[in-house]
Point group: C2
Chain length 407, copies 2
């Protein structure tokens, strides 16, 4: 008599983005022919740059010839790509071996799956608001109790508010696994070196592990802000980092990412090297490597010309963020983020809840954004606008908000 994993029933509601899609589709059904301007999902919109396209085509071509055909690659990724990633980090003075890079199909997958190599009774701390996957994956794994409407029992929420510049204070209780995201999704805030150092010191003192999601690191323009947690002294013994080609190379649907598990990383009950070997085993058992075609695109993205072209694309999206920021500010709306991140985080005007603002923006302005409350209790009353969009759409969306939003 098979039985289900009941933890799934604890999940509070539909995943945020399907719910946004549902409401948007309902609106479109009721208002056929209306054009909706989407600044909701953090999804790239611009064509892939030519050097990366060339790399992908090359990857396909290689499979058409007997001399260059390849089947299964290593689950951890092609050595040439892991080497290129190691070289990239060496430019910033980071010494990370190719074997410490694990190539995968997505930072989402890895950040959801990473908890599986840890004990079920670990106490999990998340920034609040946070990317929902961190919370949901732990709820499913049984590390959380019921949802109270103010989050889940058993999880430690670390509020990120205007008062603490959207970077959390250290948890007051002992926690074991800590999710940090910088540049932050959804708030757009970027952690300083000092802020990260406080968490690295905490993690080393308490033998906790930090999961550092730096998927948006390529949007950091301020040279004083860290792009990797491994720029912080002591991080390699307590941190695992996720990054992705999704945003770096404008690549979201192509699926390629990497995770760094330093061999120095340890737990309370394991020596350095054990987490590295557990993640290796996890990837060998539950995964079979990212597509060889896609990895060829990733290698091209890391070439000098690939980096020049993808950096240009990142600048394009950052300019979108500036346009959104300036437009909202000109209306007297308080905004955060955007300067070193593709997300603008705004305080709902007039005391609206996040979903109230969602419905107003959709109905009055025909703009789709993302309710802050979907990212956690402390996101209530906030709203995320994504800078991923065609320039024309972004400009029209901002104009429409300025013209039509009744506040």
């Amino acid at each position: 008599m098979a039985r289900i994993n009941k933890n799934y029933d604890r999940l509070a509601a539909g995943y945020l983005f399907p719910e946004i899609a549902r409401r948007t589709n309902l609106y479109l059904e009721k208002n056929p022919g209306t054009e909706v301007l989407r600044l909701g999902i953090g999804d790239t919109t611009e064509p892939i740059v030519s050097s990366v396209l060339d790399g992908l085509h090359h990857g396909v071509d290689q499979l058409g010839s007997v001399d260059t055909y390849s089947g299964y690659g290593p689950s951890e990724g092609l050595l040439s790509l892991r080497q290129a990633l190691s070289d990239l980090h060496a430019e910033s003075g980071l010494s990370i071996e190719p074997s410490e890079f694990f190539v995968s199909d997505g930072a989402k997958s890895d950040s959801a799956n990473i908890q599986g190599i840890f004990s079920e009774d670990c106490i999990v701390a998340v920034q609040d608001p946070a990317y929902p996957v961190y919370v949901d994956s732990n709820v499913i794994a049984g590390r959380a109790g019921n949802s109270t409407g103010e989050g889940y029992e058993g999880l430690v929420y670390m509020p990120c508010t205007a008062e603490n510049d959207f970077f959390p204070d250290l948890p007051s209780e002992k926690v074991d696994l800590i999710y940090l995201c910088s540049p932050n999704n959804p708030t757009g805030a970027v952690a300083t070196k000092e802020q990260l150092k406080s968490f690295v010191d905490y993690a080393n003192e308490h033998k906790a592990v930090i999961f550092f999601d730096s998927a948006y690191a390529s949007f950091i323009t301020d040279p004083n802000l860290p792009r990797s947690i491994f720029e912080i002294e002591g991080a390699d013994s307590c941190s695992i980092e996720f990054n992705s080609f999704s945003k770096t190379a404008g690549f979201t649907g192509v699926r390629l990412a990497w995770t760094i598990v330093p061999k120095a990383c340890r737990t309370e009950d394991s020596e350095p090297g054990k987490l590295h070997s557990l993640w290796t085993r996890r990837q060998n058992t539950f995964f079979n490597g990212a597509s060889n075609v896609v990895q060829a695109g990733g290698i091209a993205a890391l070439s000098p010309e690939g980096r020049r072209q993808t950096d240009e694309q990142v600048s394009f999206y950052l300019e979108n963020a500036r346009i959104i920021n300036d437009g909202l500010k000109s209306m007297g709306i308080t905004t955060y983020g955007g300067g070193n991140a593709p997300y603008v985080w705004l305080k709902s005007p007039g005391g609206l809840t996040s979903w109230e603002l969602f419905d107003k923006l959709l109905n009055e302005c025909k703009v789709v954004g993302t309710p802050g409350s979907g990212f956690g209790p402390a996101g209530e009353g906030f709203f995320r606008l994504s800078a991923f969009g065609h320039r024309d759409n972004v400009v029209r969306a901002v104009d429409s908000i300025k013209e039509n939003l009744v506040i």
Copy 2:
């Protein structure tokens, strides 16, 4: 104080294929310049057929234009591909909705991850021998005890022997989750309709769920043998099926597969539809869809010309299997499988253990195969040879075995 998932430490040894690679590399280090003939891993070797290559290139091209660029797709796969899969099955008289197909990056991933939507206390039954991922994923999830050297405590092993034509008898105790693979990896045996019906009836009677791995279904040439468990009456209320483009389209490194979760499928504690919605939620949380480039290749593989070309490739590999089978039989070695499967399963001559035969084949014949014992206790004394290989290599490997194996 972070702690690890201790279930990983129960895993008996290194994953089978890395161990094979280790011994092979050691041999090559000691015998530099020697050419080794690999009939080990079930990995395709022939260039991808032209229509699929065209589909992949088309997928890349679409990402280069603003009008056809796409970012994240649905985690469950592109509707056009799910529709094409539904149409394919309709040709065999199967009525499976597009929404019951879940496109993913691999049958390995899905067959490893599927257990996660079920309760931790479900009793798991596996064919013995079996693809190691079924066992390992459940060990990691905590559904097994220690390894005794004769398998894991807590798992139910269903021996597949020459006596039962390598298809198991029904378990004598009650089990909840049942893994079946046909055409079987590693034995090459294909279940008949009657054999499958006995398990479907068992599962419906006991509200168990069958995980049916049909990744090698395209190798079935006998029209009387079922290619899908859904050809069996009553299967849709108790079965989940995994299939893959890896072998069907000669595609292993490209990463594309599908899983069928019928809406009719239920458990003891859930109504029909619940498993479908749990797997949807699982894929939405832990996965972000297969690569859009790769899915374009999958659509091409299902086109009339794509099917003609890939069927031809499957026939090529089946001819390899025939050559292996005939060669071994001519030496008096007892073999199984091969006719409707890309694997030949042979009884170790002279009472050798599986790894003893591995070492003999490597050292005496320079042929790499796969020890049967790596697939489970009942695989001891057997050996798997894979029909994936260039024709020339397969012929040379068989000749070398005939010439050099001392038995």
